[in-house]
Amino acid sequence: MTRPTHDNHPDALRRRLLGASAGAVALGALPGASLVRAQGLAAFDWKKFKGEKIEVFLVKSPRGDLLSKYHKEFEDMTGISVGSEMVPEQQQRQKAVIEFNSGNPSFDVIALSYHVQKRQFAKNNWLTDLRPMMNDRSLADLNLDFADFAQGGLNYAVEPDGRVMSLPLNLDPWVVYYNKELFDAKRIAFPKTFAEMIDAAAKLNDPPKGVSGFVARGLKNANVPVWTSFLLGYGGGFIDKSGKLLTDTPEAIESAKMYQTLLAKYGPQGVSGFNWNESQSLFLQGKAAMWLDGIGFAQPLEDPTKSRIVGKVGYGVMPAGPKQRVSALFADGEGISTYSKKKGPSWFYLQWASNKANQTRMLQAAAGAPVRTSAYAAAQASSDFKSPKEWVECMLASAKIAQPGLPVIASVTEFRDTFGIALTNMINGADPATELKKATVDFQPVLDKSEKT
């Protein structure tokens, strides 16, 4: 039963998409036909750049794989041929910096992780402002439909001065996975506030049975979003308008204390060396009651060959802090190199990559959490969609309350390193206030320097 649906689905969507865009062109041509002709502008046509060739530079990931798999569809639709290169995330970031610095990068379109590359790219003016092309009726597909993009994703893609430097594709809000069996056994409801969260972790922590009340990343660098998830809930921030760090404020210290309590007191032994994979393997074995991390782990958690807790996983929206309820957000998207000589065809590629069909595919293949809201309903309508309904609800609710989980600065990796070490030290018993003050003093000059020139 699932096979025909599976085979037909992308095609059906494509036909609908092509039909819709053809319709849009026809509609656009009717009332304003004379106007268009008068201005010498052609109506939108996917074949406009037929015969051109563009190079795209993607990250090797399920999302990169998925887009590459369907490049043929884009080539057939537009007549533009696509050359693509995919490299692992770390190497992609290094190569991007080196290529852009050379002033003659080998690619036209580039995938970027907003939390690491947005500020770096913006500061160096490496990407093209998409607004002129978006507002050009001959270049923008009417189906682009920006209203369909989740606000969290758009916040990331748009610069403070209103320039749109990329289109967001994937969101990664942080959520709390919880083990329903452990919660039910102690008759505890999923926490709604930070105080309840600490309380639940205390009650569920059971070292003799090898069960931890809470698990999350303790490894330096990787651990920073765990702390910032709390920091945002406490109403704290990263940097004020004058460029001064806010990482030693009372809110920052309180949230660091919460981090310390949850990990050092109710976390597993050795958690200061845990990245997401160690946390995941503990949670998969039913040995942790709560796990705070990005939303992308439903697939392994619901896979009977990997998980002992299939069907028992709860997907909880981040509980509310004393000031607000926030889910720390990470996201990625695609932009066009400012050095590209093929901006038109590249813009067509961006529109295709972020269209509803591709966004729905991303969800169906469990390759990510699409930024388009409509993709969720479309994917759920399909019978081969495996992610639980609760996960989808959690995703949509989290995206609504999402804020960037890291400061949007060029030196973000160094920020994560400096504060990551401070957090690891806290797990091993150091005083949160002292550690944060020291890290803030250490990092302020780095920030000043990296944001100045």
């Binding site: 330096k220 060029a410 091993n428 320097k449």
Partner: protein, 301 residues
């Protein structure tokens, strides 16, 4: 020196011309060495005199990067970690490898097969090894703590503890590289003369005396070679550490290489990273001179 005996002497300038021709043939080698060793090296020294982050304007700062390194606690600690790691990662494979070679040098059934199995770790890819060991080290789910529990020992935190992380990483290194030392020492044992043993036995020497006063001194040059190779490998160790602990917890296992990688490729702090490279180069050079000196001396052990 009696060039008049040569027929070419009748043609003055031939030798000079031939010498010029020799220079021409050396050009490719000089170009390659210049391009891949000398130029990058000089450029690194040059870059180390700048405050330069990729994406920002470079400022000439002279020796400032070096002055800062001298007081940079994290960098100085990374030197200590590097030496601590190297020392352990040289000594243990050396002792265990020599012991293994002495065992495998004797005749016993299935020796060839067992020897082959023993050398297998050496052939595995470091990153794959690192990933497997990471799983084995897991404090709750790992097989190592399960094994400890079978013999009634308390669980260890392995690479997840700041004090145990370097010894645990050395454990991986020992498992990986002991076979290499064994192979080198086996080669040495095979080349040893048999006469000294015969005469020593006639004189009533014990097994220990044979080993201490004949085998060990004769093996010394081979052991030094093994030590040099191990030292070089341990100093440049990066992949296993990066994959298993990423220098953590905190900075507890951050060696110079990891610090360098962060500075250069994560923070794009090229000036500072170049200064680190230069300092590291000087350290390695000093160490190499010490090892060479030791090697000279062992000829008379």
């Amino acid at each position: 020196m009696n060039s008049s005996a040569l027929p070419t002497a009748s043609r003055p300038g031939f030798l000079a011309r031939r010498r010029r021709a020799y220079y021409f043939f050396a050009v490719p080698a000089l170009v390659v060495v210049g391009a891949v060793i000398i130029f990058p090296w000089l450029f690194t020294v040059w870059m180390s005199a700048f405050d330069w982050r990729i994406g920002s304007v470079a400022h000439f700062v002279g020796l400032e990067n070096y002055v800062k390194l001298a007081t940079n606690k994290r960098f100085l600690e990374s030197i200590v970690h590097t030496f601590y790691f190297t020392l352990l990662a040289v000594i243990f494979p050396l002792i265990l490898g020599t012991a293994a070679a002495l065992i495998f040098h004797r005749e016993f059934p299935l020796r060839g097969v067992l020897r082959g199995i023993f050398t297998m770790p050496m052939m595995a890819t470091p990153v794959a090894i690192a990933l497997v060991w990471t799983m084995m080290f897991h404090p709750q789910q790992g097989v190592l703590n399960y094994l400890l529990s079978l013999v009634g020992l308390p669980p260890s935190l392995w690479v997840y503890s700041q004090s145990l992380v370097i010894p645990s990483l050395v454990l991986v290194e020992v498992w990986h590289w002991t076979p290499l030392v064994m192979l080198i020492v086996l080669g040495g044992l095979a080349a040893l003369p048999t006469e000294p043993y015969e005469s020593a036995k006639l004189d009533g020497a014990t097994e220990w005396q044979l080993f201490r006063y004949i085998t060990l001194p004769l093996l010394a040059p081979f052991l030094i070679v093994a030590a040099v190779i191990r030292t070089i490998d341990a100093l440049k160790a990066f992949d296993t550490i990066y994959v298993i602990s990423q220098g953590g917890p905190g900075t507890a296992s951050e060696t110079i290489n990891l610090y360098l990688y962060l500075q250069a490729f994560a923070f794009y702090n090229v000036g500072n990273a170049s200064a680190v490279v230069v300092v590291f180069f000087v350290i390695i050079l000093a160490l190499a001179l010490v090892l060479l000196h030791v090697r000279e001396k062992t000829k008379w052990v």
